[in-house]
């Protein structure tokens, strides 16, 4: 298999510089925008706490590449599994980050990716279980250099 770490260093640097130089002050999503997104997905249904865990750095030096890992406790059987996890940010120009759709074949409801954060803000994640119940959690990330020119 090819190596995962072989992303061109020059490309990464170019993009970093360009992003910092070019993006001016932009409208920010806020807590209300995240709530509106959640409402669009699940209406007024309340989410419980627990079961879902987001793993993000407390302090991110580079807002362009912030690792995030979400994990939901679940046996991942046909009857009881995690259907989806949605991740939002309340301080980016747009609230959406990513949505993950799991199946029982995953065996474990966990996924990692890397995101851009414009400024220090809260990351909100919500998990939808097979029985329709919801669980959410929130985690703050402090960003030293914003990923959207912030």
């Amino acid at each position: 298999m090819t190596s995962l770490s072989a992303v061109s260093r020059r490309d990464a640097l170019c993009l970093t510089a360009a992003t910092i130089a070019l993006a001016p002050g932009l409208a920010r999503a806020d807590v209300a925008a995240v709530e509106a997104e959640l409402k669009k997905l699940y209406g007024d249904k309340k989410a419980g706490s627990g079961k879902i865990k987001i793993d993000v750095p407390q302090i991110a030096e580079n807002g362009l590449v912030v690792p995030i890992n979400v994990e939901v406790e679940s046996p991942m059987t046909e009857a009881d599994h995690v259907k989806a996890v949605h991740v939002f940010a309340d301080g980016n120009p747009l609230p959406g980050i990513a949505s993950f759709r799991f199946t029982p074949a995953c065996g474990k409801a966990a996924a990692s990716t890397r995101m851009r954060l414009a400024q220090s803000q809260n990351i909100v994640a919500i998990a939808e279980m097979a029985d329709g119940s919801l669980f959410s959690t929130k985690s703050e990330v402090k960003v030293t250099i914003g990923g959207c020119g912030g």
């Binding site: 490309d11 990464a12 070019l22 980050i97 990513a98 996924a111 990716t113 890397r114 851009r116 954060l117």
Partner: protein, 109 residues
């Protein structure tokens, strides 16, 4: 930066039955957010990969929807509980309609 995206995936070649394996994927792509402006002040149009799908022997295992907040050269990892030998098909769908695809075999003992 406008080179053709190159997908890279890491899937173990062998696994024991019911073993949980982690699959790591990466694709080179600028993930232009649609938020940036060029030197003339015009907004650079959005061009990101919006969907990633992992299919094993024809059955979808995992799917991710990405928003512009996903970093350039997007990375995605997830798990798979090894049930049978077969082949993964990974697909990345671009805003411009392109689909990038790669495959990887898994042997379950």
């Amino acid at each position: 930066m406008s080179n053709k995206p190159v997908p890279r995936v890491r899937v173990p070649a062998n696994a024991k039955k019911d073993e949980l394996i982690e699959i790591k994927t990466l694709i080179s792509h600028e993930m232009e957010s649609g938020q940036r402006k060029d030197s003339a002040g015009a907004t650079i149009p959005r061009k990101i990969i919006n969907t990633f799908t992992a299919v094993f022997n024809g059955k979808t295992v995992f799917e991710a929807t990405w928003h512009p907040a996903i970093s350039a050269n997007p990375y995605q990892s997830f798990f798979y509980k090894a049930a049978e030998s077969g082949e993964f098909t990974f697909q990345w769908k671009d805003d411009d309609g392109s689909v990038y695809e790669t495959k990887a075999k898994l042997t379950v003992a």
